[in-house]
């Protein structure tokens, strides 16, 4: 046998072996992931949640921690128990302004299944720093404790309702919320 053919056969066999090992390793990893409950590929979320695609500016945005396009799981967390997830979805980070509307003082959600302001905002703060947000608009600084980002921002619809608000509409937003607070006898700050 020609020496060259001999070595290339060895190389070919080695490659085949490596691929086989890799496949084995991958299936082992996925079975481990299955054991940990992380079997739901974020790509599959839309299979059930087809009504909530991300159409806003976060569609196709890079997630800093992974340096790849953000998935549902990057913001909402991984499904750890598919059975429970299908029952109540309580294991997910749920972005809902109800967190802020209902419990500005205790930071505990009164609405079932809604994540706390701190939990919601911590997700956003993985990419958006408080300093940058404060520079964009001072009201970010003013509401750091009291509001969830989702109270004002919506990422799933094509247009975030507060982006591009006129000055008059911004003032009206302040007045509407704070008038209600005044009527309810709540202080400006908790």
């Amino acid at each position: 046998m020609n020496k060259r053919i001999y070595f290339s056969s060895i190389a070919f066999l080695a490659t085949v072996l490596r691929i086989a090992l890799a496949v084995l390793a991958l299936s082992w990893v996925s079975s481990q992931a299955a054991a940990a409950g992380q079997t739901i590929d974020p790509e599959n979320c839309i299979g059930c949640h087809e009504e909530t695609p991300v159409l806003g500016v976060h569609s196709g945005a890079l997630f800093g921690a992974t340096n790849r396009v953000a998935t549902c799981a990057d913001c909402h967390g991984w499904v750890t128990d598919l059975g429970q997830h299908e029952t109540d979805g309580a294991d997910m980070v749920r972005f809902d302004s109800a967190a802020a509307v209902l419990e500005p003082r205790t930071l505990t959600p009164l609405s079932l299944g809604v994540s706390t302001i701190a939990t919601q905002n911590q997700t956003c703060l993985q990419c958006h720093s408080g300093k940058t947000l404060g520079a964009l608009h001072w009201t970010h600084d003013a509401h750091g404790f009291e509001l969830a980002c989702s109270t004002c921002h919506q990422l799933h619809p094509k247009n975030d309702p507060v982006r591009g608000l006129s000055n008059a509409s911004t003032i009206k937003l302040c007045v509407d919320c704070h008038s209600a607070q005044t009527r309810n006898g709540e202080g400006v700050r908790p």
């Binding site: 905002n121 720093s129 408080g130 300093k131 947000l133 404060g134 001072w138 970010h140 600084d141 003013a142 750091g144 404790f145 008059a168 003032i171 302040c174 007045v175 509407d176 704070h178 008038s179 607070q181 005044t182 400006v188 700050r189 908790p190």
Partner: protein, 220 residues
Amino acid sequence: MSVTRRDFLIASTCVATAGAFPVVHSMEVDGKRYTMVHDEKACIGCTACMDACREVNAVPEGVSRLNIIRSEPIGTYPDVTFQFFRQSCQHCDVPPCVAVCPSGASFRDPDTGIVDVDPDKCVGCQYCIAACPYQVRYIDPVTQAADKCDFCRKTNLAQGKLPACVESCPTNALIFGDLNDPDSEVSQVIATSKTYRTKVELGTDPHLYRIAAPTGGNRS
């Protein structure tokens, strides 16, 4: 009558002094003494008052009777506070703007204590702008007369309403009323709260009182 050189100098000094400080005592007010309190603790800096003032009093763009000045952020995100300062006419009891006005356009309404401007009498010399220690006067680009906050004397007050800024405030941070009435809310607030006024050392006796907000750490 002979006048010694010494008597003449003393007499002329007195005249010169009186001329330089023509108003050294408070003007008498018979009726109401309208006064405002800005509660900086309650203010959220939304500037709804600024918009309402501009609309009600038809204040042209580019000038303003009322500004809310926002401080730099105090603290680090998410524990950040701000301070808000109202910049507008203080309706002084001893108003330098009235004292320097050569045409009588700047005046103090004896019935309300409100310092106001008669645009028909104003010649636009801008002495009042230079004299006002609170820097709240401007020349209206439409009338070419000096103008400033008049507590809505010609608009809302004339219609029996509160000043536009007070009406529009969502947190009741502005309290307005008659300081001569001890039972009025404004009198009660001034009597029972720790308030401050700015530049009182100038002897202007301003009638815009302020309740100071804490300088931070108010969440502790």
